[in-house]
């Protein structure tokens, strides 16, 4: 039987080079052959018949037997690290390996074997790919759109108020970081003295006491262009500077605020945050770790552009109507805000996109007008001066006039 592999015990200079990588001498060519059944190598003599029919490579085994490999069935084993390696197999005998090495015979085989690089791998299993791809999509969809929402709705009822507040605070910081575009730090909270007072006055007029909430409403304005407002768990409501700038009157800001208080009362943000917590890991699973950062982006985005159900929006609207009426502000302001933003800014901004694409926007505008019917003796929620102050809440102040950061309305409302 032939030697196993390269070393023959002696210490010749080429002892480390296996026989199949040494330059082939002229005359008959030999190579190491693994038959795919035994773990031993056989030294075989090779003869190439490229012009006879059938064209073939004949392997002369040590025991005198011969193996015939038709040239069209020869395949190179791909991806060899060693540029000198030339490892062959045959479609008729796919487990067998012939360790030949580059040389005159390898060059002649390359010239005459037609499908050397065709690859021996089976074609992609289309049906199973479709089946499992479909199953993966279905299972992810089932979990994200059915199981997690149902569980989140149930769990949100049992989350204690302190837990809700902690959840809201954690997400608030994350959102401020994500929204930042300057790379300097989290987006600034606007606290300019008179503006803050105007904001507090608006909230006090609107909801002197919110009995429906186990915690005070905490209201902040973020220095950002977005025309949007959103609510986080634990009664944290955030208005963007862009929204205040886009509003025509303080009543419109108050209407949006009342709507957001409605979401807080019905705990919509808590449900949404729990839903996101369940979905986020599943999405991370799909994308793999190289997209780790995008998951956080998605989290923040889904909270800002929270897509509450139609029922939740209607509920929050109805709550806002009552709140506005009780405060002596016309509920029609809510509808006006929707209409104006849609007309003025088109569908581009997130806020408008959300409301404008809603099929029942017309109904909601009508509902706010209906709620306003018969309401008399309404007064603007803020005076002209206060409205001016609120509009400038994000303008910088000289340091001696700067308010103490972190002073939120909620603490005044206890």
């Amino acid at each position: 039987m032939s030697g196993a592999g390269g070393s023959t015990g002696s210490r010749r200079p080429d002892a480390d080079t296996p026989p199949w990588l040494r330059p082939a001498p002229s005359g008959p060519t030999f190579a190491d052959f693994a038959d795919g059944e035994h773990a031993r190598l056989a030294r075989v003599g090779l003869r190439l018949y490229p012009h006879e029919r059938p064209d073939r490579l004949v392997l002369a085994l040590p025991d005198g037997a011969e193996q015939v490999w038709p040239l069209e069935e020869l395949r190179l084993v791909p991806g060899q690290a060693d540029p000198e390696a030339f490892v062959l197999t045959s479609m008729s005998d796919p487990l067998a390996r012939l360790y030949l090495g580059k040389g005159p015979l390898a060059a002649r085989i390359s010239a005459h074997a037609p499908a050397l690089h065709a690859g021996a791998a089976p074609p992609p299993p289309r049906r199973r790919l479709l089946k499992w791809g479909g199953a993966a999509l279905a299972s992810v969809a089932l979990i994200i759109f059915v199981l997690v929402p149902v569980m989140a709705d149930q769990l949100a009822r049992f989350l204690p108020p302190e837990g809700e507040r902690a959840l809201g605070d954690a997400t608030f910081e994350q959102i401020r970081k994500v929204l930042d575009q300057s790379g300097i730090g989290p987006v600034r909270i606007c606290e300019t003295g008179k503006g803050r007072e105007a904001l507090d006055a608006m909230l006090a007029r609107l909801a002197p006491e919110v009995d429906d909430l186990p915690y005070p409403v905490r209201l902040s304005v973020l220095d950002h262009d977005l025309i949007n407002a959103f609510t986080l768990p634990g009664g944290r409501i955030i208005l963007f500077r862009g929204l205040i700038e886009a509003a025509d009157s303080p009543d419109e800001v108050a209407a949006v605020l009342a709507h957001e208080i409605g979401h807080a009362v019905y705990r919509d943000p808590t449900r949404d945050a729990l839903r996101t917590a369940g979905s986020i890991g599943v999405l991370g699973l799909l994308l793999g770790d190289f997209a780790g950062g995008t998951v956080v982006l998605f989290l923040a985005n889904s909270l800002i552009n929270a897509q509450y159900s139609q029922a939740a929006e209607t509920r929050a609207d109805e709550y806002a109507h009552i709140l506005l009426k009780e405060a002596g502000v016309s509920p029609a302001a809510l509808g006006r805000m929707f209409v104006r933003l849609r007309d003025e800014y088109g569908d581009a901004s997130g806020f408008v996109a959300h409301f404008a694409s809603h099929p029942t926007l017309a109904e909601r505008i009508a509902a706010s007008e209906a709620a306003a019917e018969g309401v008399t003796g309404t007064e603007p929620v803020l005076g002209a001066r206060q409205w001016q102050a609120l509009s400038g809440i994000c303008s910088p102040l000289p340091p001696n006039l700067a308010p103490v950061p972190g002073k939120l309305l909620g603490s005044d409302m206890k």
Partner: protein, 412 residues
């Protein structure tokens, strides 16, 4: 003409070629939102496996990217439920009981640990089933859950003893794996005992416990100047790590056997700690240099292009003129374009350095490490191998899906 001579193991991989391959396939993975990673892994493994030659015959990796994709989809079906529901419940309890999400993250990690061990075993089973040498398949017996609970208990014991039982964990987990590993129809055996690894841990014990003692004493007795001792103990710990890798490999490998008691092939290794330390230091230095050079080049090439674009007003004006419009663009539009460009630049730089880091580490750390372990190992009594026959193909449709989805052993 049989031979009793030992088989040498060599490594023919080239760092430059591997770097190019890793960079190219990594780039395609990023461009395809991670989908190409199954092809990337296949091609990198083919390269690395074929670079290892035992007795002149290269290893062969026969894994197929499609089966990896299928395995991943299968893992998603199973894991999506676990991860979605468990994450939600943990988040709920963490916030309602502790008002923080740190607990949820910790619990979530602990909860997923047994699954990680499970996934690691299954991934190894897949990789061995797709590895051949002399045309003969390797294989690993089923036994992932047995591995998972053993690994969990060994880790627990290791943590409770502050790392003292690390060698015991290393030995028994390696023994569990080796004793279930086959080459063809022959089973491998892991001999030796866990106490033989204690010596390999010596320098790591000294370095780590020494550093802990220095910090503890300096804080306790309020002698900050004692912290200077860390200049001795921390490098010692680093050397200890390299020494442990070399000598635990050497001892474990030299106690592996295959075949019958009377006629067995065995491995013997002479891996060296100082060599491993050199590969760590040199390899990571080179990796960092490559990443820095890459970022630098990227900064200049792309930076100039974007730098030109930062003059957005000019650009927008040019566009307006080209469109036959007149007048200045609104300042808002220029601002938005500027911000978008900077964000794009940041994202591109992030992916470029991520790619360079992975490619450089694979070729400057992983490959030299494989080379050293290969070249310091030899196979004795190779005649015993000649009796070994082929084993049946392990279809194993799940491939390494779990490990891939959970990011364990998802590297090579």
């Amino acid at each position: 003409m049989g031979t009793l001579a030992d088989l040498e193991i060599s490594c023919t991989g080239k760092r430059g070629a591997l770097f190019a391959l890793a960079l190219k396939t990594g780039g395609l993975s990023v461009l395809t939102a991670g989908l190409y990673r199954f092809w990337m892994k296949t091609r990198l493994r083919r390269y690395l496996w074929s670079s290892i030659r035992i007795g002149g015959v290269p290893l062969e990796y026969t894994g197929n990217p499609w089966e990896k994709l299928l395995g991943f989809l299968f893992a998603v079906v199973v894991l999506a439920f676990y991860i979605g529901v468990v994450n939600l419940l943990l988040m709920f309890f963490s916030f309602s009981l502790f008002q923080t999400n740190a607990i949820a993250y910790a619990l979530s990690f602990i909860g997923v640990l047994p699954l990680l061990f499970f996934a690691r075993y299954r991934a190894r089973r897949y990789v061995l089933a797709r590895t051949r040498w002399r045309g003969i398949r390797f294989g690993l017996e089923p036994g992932a859950w047995g591995y998972a609970w053993r690994a969990a208990l060994h880790w627990l014991a290791t943590i409770l003893t502050l790392g003292l039982l690390w060698p015991r964990k290393a030995f028994y987990l390696e023994k569990y794996l080796t004793d279930r590993t086959f080459f063809g129809d022959a089973r491998l055996r892991q001999g030796g005992s866990w106490t033989m690894l204690l010596g390999a841990m010596l320098h790591l014990y000294i370095g780590v416990y020494g550093s802990a003692a220095v910090i503890g004493l300096a804080v306790w007795l309020n002698r900050p100047q004692w912290l200077l001792w860390l200049l001795l103990t921390l490098p010692w710990a680093l050397f200890g790590l390299a020494y442990w890798r070399a000598h635990s490999f050497r001892l474990l490998t030299s106690h592996k056997q295959i075949g019958t008691e009377s006629e067995a092939a065995a491995l013997s290794s002479s891996a060296r700690g100082r060599k491993i330390l050199g590969i760590y230091l040199g390899g990571y230095l080179l990796t960092v240099l490559v990443v820095l050079a890459g970022i630098f080049a990227f900064f200049f090439v792309i930076g100039f292009v974007i730098g030109g674009m930062l003059n957005m007003d000019g650009l927008l004006k040019a566009l307006n003129v080209a469109n036959g419009e007149t007048g200045s663009p609104s300042p808002g539009a220029a601002d938005k374009l500027r911000v978008a460009t900077i964000v794009l630049y940041g994202v591109l730089t992030y992916f470029a350095s991520f790619l360079l880091w992975n490619a450089a580490r694979t070729s400057f750390v992983t490959l030299p490490m494989i080379r050293h372990f290969a070249e310091s190992t030899r196979l004795t009594g190779p005649l015993a191998l000649n009796r070994i026959r082929q084993r049946a193909r392990d279809e194993f449709a799940e491939a390494e899906g779990f490990a891939d989805a959970l990011d364990v052993g998802a590297a090579l």
